[in-house]
């Protein structure tokens, strides 16, 4: 970033929903906070009136499907990262289940470069744990870690690393470069042909059940493996009350485990499946209201560490069909902030500082993104989002930036809207609409992931 980029003077924002302050963004960083901000601003500084708005660190998603390479009909890095910016994100982790799978340094570097070129959000590729997500042989984890993409999160998401030996080795191996294995916890034999949560609703609907025990048994095994080898484990999209109890138990024993919950699992239940509308088909499936409440409590108390969207766009033909034939997944980048505000902030379970913890600070720490999820203080990188907490809007899939129209929240009125997103001091969103992408230097001598840093 050069110093002739515009300055932005944010006036009267409630920092983390607390004290109202001015804040000056200059050269990609927060230059000043408080009374000195206006004094230090140049006369040409762009003034952003933030009266009534809340300033937060930009959201960091540990779980996004950008579909490129391979399924550009569903999403591209460009469209997905536009959606991310509009949703208040300044970093997303792109899951490895592309085609080809992101299991080599070449593919992760490609995704990383596409993200840089798009310039709407920091795109951090997730590396596959096993070759081709096949669950047989470890992918070249070290090569991905050392590539320009500097991969730190590894996952076969969509498929569980169910072989216990392979999981053990992966957990051990990534210690060499401070990586983490993000497990999609799903015992495969217990979920053959599974269509929805197994329980009272599946019994009535005649859809093959996806039992909670298939998730919980893998989490139980994995936390014990992580303890045994002294490794760090991340559990993707926790969906059951029983999983919460196991993770709580593991944390109490000092096991280095972190866990994630999706916005949809914080709000929706399997009752919606009674419509047989595949927009509600997702993996792990929507569970019961008891599970929803356990997940909210767990996120509030810290047993679950982060919100991850599991943004999973699909072309409409994969949802306009019978339930059993439909693809699993829901979009989430443009609704995450609002759903978390609705389920966690407006219920009093989290304040805005807690919101920032679960959507930004902790995900950045898990993904080892040193310049994301930082305090709102002078000298820190300006990865920020301005939120209007009083706004109310009705979800309309047709107006979204993602290519996916498969939002389960369509027609729902939700609170909170993103007014501005700053990526490295550059506004990707202003006045609630997309502004311009941040252009990284084309021939950066900096081969490190630092192209994203300030």
């Amino acid at each position: 970033m050069t110093s002739d980029t515009p300055q932005y003077l944010i006036r009267g924002a409630a920092l983390l929903g607390g004290p109202v302050r001015d804040l000056l963004i200059r050269s990609g960083s927060i230059a000043a906070v408080g009374d000195t901000a206006a004094a230090e601003a140049s006369s040409s500084a762009v003034v952003v009136d933030a009266t009534g708005l809340i300033l937060l660190p930009g959201l960091v998603d540990l779980h996004t499907h950008l579909r490129e390479p391979g399924r550009e009909d569903a999403e591209t890095v460009e469209t997905g990262s536009r959606a991310a910016a509009l949703g208040g994100f300044t970093a997303v982790h792109a899951m490895a289940n592309s085609s080809p799978v992101a299991d080599t340094a070449g593919v992760v570097e490609q995704v990383y470069r596409l993200g840089l070129a798009a310039g709407w959000v920091e795109v951090r590729p997730v590396g596959a744990v096993t070759v081709g997500l096949g669950g047989q042989r470890l992918a070249e984890l070290g090569a991905m870690a050392e590539s320009p993409a500097r991969v730190r999160v590894f996952s076969d998401d969509g498929i569980c690393v169910h072989d216990p030996v392979l999981m053990r080795r992966a957990l051990e191996y990534v210690k060499a470069f401070d990586g983490v294995v993000a497990q999609h916890a799903q015992e495969p034999r217990l979920t053959e042909g599974a269509q929805m949560n197994e329980g009272e609703v599946s019994a009535v609907l005649g859809l093959t059940g996806w039992p909670a025990v298939a998730e919980e048994s893998i989490i139980a095994r994995d936390v014990l493996l992580a303890q045994h080898v002294g490794s760090r484990l991340h559990v993707c999209h926790v969906s059951t009350a029983g999983s919460v109890e196991i993770i709580r138990w593991a944390k109490a024993r000092g096991i280095d485990v972190t866990a994630e919950v999706t916005p949809h699992h914080l709000l929706l239940t399997d009752e919606l499946v009674r419509s047989y509308d595949p927009v509600y088909k997702v993996n792990p499936p929507l569970r019961t209201s008891d599970d929803v409440h356990a997940l909210r409590e767990a996120l509030a108390e810290g047993t679950i560490d982060v919100v991850g969207t599991d943004h999973a766009p699909h072309p409409s033909e994969h949802k306009e069909c019978e339930w059993a034939q439909a693809a699993m997944g829901m979009t989430g980048l443009e609704t995450a902030l609002s759903v978390v505000q609705h389920t966690m902030v407006e219920t009093g379970l989290l304040d805005w500082e807690g919101f920032a913890r679960v959507t930004s600070v902790t995900p950045a720490r898990i993904g080892r993104l040193a310049h994301q999820g930082r305090p709102l203080a002078a000298g820190e990188p300006a990865n920020l989002v301005l939120v209007d907490p009083a706004a109310r809007w009705t979800v309309d899939p047709g107006t979204m930036a993602t290519k996916g129209r498969n939002t389960p929240f369509r027609g729902l009125e939700l609170p909170g809207s993103v007014r501005a997103t700053f990526l490295g001091g550059h506004p990707t969103v202003l006045d609630g609409v997309l502004a311009t992408p941040r252009r990284a230097p084309v021939s950066s001598p900096d081969r490190e992931a630092g192209s994203w840093s300030i």
């Binding site: 269509q195 197994e198 859809l207 306009e320 339930w323």
Partner: protein, 353 residues
Amino acid sequence: MRHLLSTQDLSVPRALRLLDVAEEMAAVGEREIKKLPALRGRTVVNLFFEDSTRTRISFEAAAKRLSADVINFSAKGSSVSKGESLKDTAQTLEAMSADAVVIRHPSSGAPARLAASGWIDAAVVNAGDGTHEHPTQALLDAFTLRRHRARLGGEPSTGSTLAGMRILIVGDVLHSRVARSNVWLLTTLGAEVLLAGPPTLLPVGVHSWPCTVYYDLDDALARRPDAVMMLRLQAERMHAAFFPSTREYARRWGFDDARLARLDTLGLKDTVIMPPGPMNRGLEISSSAADSSRSTVLAQVRNGVSVRMAALYLLLSGDQQDDDAEDDVPAPDPRTSTPRATDLSPEGRTRDQ
């Protein structure tokens, strides 16, 4: 009633209306000329994504007796193997101006999807979807049970519920659309329902159903049921660890000769046996049980046409009584329009309104 997708959402008045109209249809079936003009000019499409000759010909006979035009669309495997989606098939039928689509589909919820999608305006009749429901089968079973009791009591069955009856359903409840539709419909009509089967073939969540569950068939028989409904065991269940062997299944949950004799020992002379169709003789049911005078199998086939006539008639003729329990306006009586006279009028169905 716009569609017939499930028995779970059938109210008591609506279920009774279907059964009572079926009685009227059955009376037509006993006449020399079995055809009514009620649905003349209407098109009923039998859209079968799964083989089922019995159900299809039953619907076909029902539609033809109501003078509807019938198109049989055997679409087995087409959504996958030929690459055509349910949506495209539905829109094709819509373009052909189908008034009703009778759909049999291997995926649970496919008829509900068709009805709610906006792809089609026709009335949708669920003729069996995956392991979800088979509402016309339950209606014909309820019709058969109601007639059985009326005959014993020497009273007309029209207007009566199943209150006081105890029905035992045996076997693979987990994968049975017939069991689900019957549980909802029979209990709605006031019957007590018992389920018996191996725990592996009863769904997780069954304890929220309005039934009593037995793992032991003989314990369930000791509750003196008025009817025993045997569910079919499909071949693909036989090697998936649901039970050790077909012999063990037959011993524990098959309606064998010993259990047939036990009905007599228990003094249950009026208890009927409702075999699955098609059945595996010697597995769910012994030949002598299936062929005994207690078996209702042929009555069920006959009654199937009557209830399907009732369903198509009520869906397509614009039922005056629909959703109007307190409305005492008499039902349009199909018997009032004589086939011969109406055959001469351009729009047969106007005679019924």
